[in-house]
């Protein structure tokens, strides 16, 4: 059974299935063989890839609990870091290939366009969580580490809104993503409530 897969091999599978698409994507993008506008293709691919990985990461703890699969839980950080990597590529692609390093334009885009503002906010959270995912910080931060990493939930909502606002009229796909995020957060309803409204719960 999959459940008894050694952690090492589980991680190998995650590495292969997350890293190979990126390599393949850039191979196609540099050789100009992935559609007429490779810039758009890489931005969409890395963006949706980051969101998929984020959702998978949020699925880990309920699935691991349900099926009593500890190794899965141990691979969660790796998946989260891949989600962050895809998000980093998404942002770098936007800055390097869409805006072509027009930093002034980047600044005004972040301020003026709500979907980019929200996306950047999500990215900042993602970056913060990635850095503090190191064991060193986990030990140092103690109980506040969990509080900090609960920001994943807020980030997931921001990413969903970012996707929803970025489309012209094809809202069905982003709506499905938002519904998935809400479902994943509602599984953790009690915990999120405790985190956001700790006083109310003590009464």
């Amino acid at each position: 059974m999959l459940k008894f897969l050694p952690l090492f091999w589980l991680k190998v599978i995650i590495h292969l299935s997350a890293a190979l698409p990126i390599l393949y994507l850039y191979y196609g993008a540099f050789s100009d063989t992935i559609g007429a506008d490779p810039v758009e293709t890489v931005i969409h691919f890395t963006g949706i890839g980051a969101f998929n990985l984020l959702i998978i990461t949020l699925l880990i703890s309920p699935v691991a609990k349900q099926f009593k699969w500890p190794n899965l839980l141990k691979s969660r950080r790796l998946l989260g870091l891949y989600a962050a990597t895809y998000a980093l590529f998404h942002l770098l692609n936007f800055v390097a290939f869409e805006l072509q390093f027009d930093i002034a334009l980047l600044g005004s885009e972040i301020i003026k366009r709500p979907y980019i503002t929200v996306g950047m906010a999500a990215f900042v959270i993602m970056a913060l969580l990635s850095v503090t995912s190191l064991s060193y910080y986990k030990k140092r931060l103690g109980p506040s580490w969990q509080k900090l990493h609960n920001y994943t939930y807020i980030m997931a909502c921001l990413v969903g809104v970012h996707f929803y606002w970025s489309v012209k009229s094809e809202i069905i796909e982003p709506s499905i993503y938002l519904a998935i995020v809400i479902a994943l957060l509602s599984i953790r309803g009690k915990r999120i409530k405790q985190w956001l409204l700790p006083k109310k719960n003590n009464r």
């Binding site: 698409p21 007429a36 506008d37 758009e40 998929n52 009229s169």
Partner: protein
């Protein structure tokens, strides 16, 4: 010997890229499988992102015929490769992804076709399929095409002036506007039958121009590009090209042109009037909620590193020909 005086908007033809790039890219796309969650859930739909990455797409391709036309031979701008012009399309009737139309439109039937010109005219006209390319002398026009999404192309269109067609129908003195309509055929156009594929815009797609805009010599009814008849993803068999306006004004696969006395509704302003106005003139000073319009990315050859971000010009660079149409108008109000 034919001596042709080049018009100012005429830009010369060079670096025409062959079709084989277009063939090659199909192979690589297939291997690049990465499924969007919605595709997993929706199953049958959302071909845009998932299914075609895995499935075979060696469908029979639409047959384009060669055209006889007067060449535009006074060119100084690099053309967008043909393979890109015919594989990067916004045509929501065939899906919202840029590469959906080329995949989903190849079986589209363009013959028989009827294009009606009616409304406030003294001589209603109906063009059959053969009339589209035979009734008027065809000429090539190399135009810049600017999308509201801030990308642009340089395309060698072939067609005839919209003015010629309108004059043939003899508009009467009450005619002030020209309304256009795309074919409505949900059986052939999957986006019209499924909201998921068609992005939830209202069909049939409609567009409109003021009569004086329509009569401007730049307004072109296009029946071809790169020397051949249009492929369906580019709006076969006949489409409008209004090069000083954002691409969504240039309605595809037109079946009806109606002269009216009132400003006709337009599809994108029906959906979001605050984002897409009736005029939709290319204007670097008026921003869209999602895209700065000050600059654009020209789609050229070359991969990811093609350095092609350029400043957007007022009226897409056709101000000399069209600015007088908007004299005294506040273009941030009438966007």
């Amino acid at each position: 010997m034919l001596i042709k005086t080049p018009k100012r908007y005429a830009i010369s033809e060079n670096e025409v890229t062959s079709e084989n790039i277009y063939r090659e890219r199909r192979q690589l796309l297939k291997g690049m499988g990465f499924i969007g969650a919605s595709a997993l859930i929706a199953g049958t739909s959302n071909k845009a992102h998932a299914i075609d990455f895995f499935g075979s797409d060696d469908k029979p391709s639409f047959k384009q015929n060669t055209l006889t036309y007067q060449k535009d031979d006074s060119n100084n701008q690099t053309l967008t490769p043909e393979a890109k012009v015919t594989s990067h399309n916004n045509f929501y009737e065939f899906g919202t992804g840029k590469s959906d139309p080329v995949k989903n439109a190849q079986a589209f039937k363009v013959d028989p076709w009827q294009l009606k010109v009616d409304g406030l005219v003294d001589n209603p006209v109906t063009l059959d399929y053969d009339d589209l390319t035979k009734l008027f002398a065809l000429e090539e026009r190399i135009y810049r095409l600017r999308c509201v999404e801030a990308w642009s192309m340089v395309v060698p269109w072939i067609g005839f002036s919209l003015a010629e067609l309108i004059k043939k129908a003899q508009p009467n003195s009450n005619a002030k506007f020209v309304a256009f309509e795309t074919l409505y055929d949900p059986e052939q156009m999957p986006g019209q039958s499924s909201r998921f594929i068609g992005g939830g815009i209202h069909y049939p797609y409609v567009e409109g121009l003021r009569l004086d805009e329509a009569l401007n010599p730049l307004s072109l009814m296009s029946v071809g590009l790169y020397g051949k008849t249009l492929p369906p993803q580019n709006g076969a068999p006949i489409r409008l090209i209004v090069p000083w306006k954002y691409g969504f004004k240039s309605i595809k696969s037109v079946v009806r042109i109606t002269l009216t006395d009132k400003q006709p509704p337009t599809t994108w302003s029906q959906l979001a009037a605050s984002e897409y106005g009736f005029y939709a003139n290319v204007n670097p000073n008026v921003s869209h909620p999602r895209w700065s319009q000050a600059s654009e990315r020209r789609i050229t050859g070359g991969g990811l590193f093609a350095r092609n971000r350029i400043e957007t010009q007022m009226f897409n660079g056709y101000g000399e020909e069209v600015a007088h149409l908007y004299k005294g108008m506040n273009l941030s109000k009438y966007y």
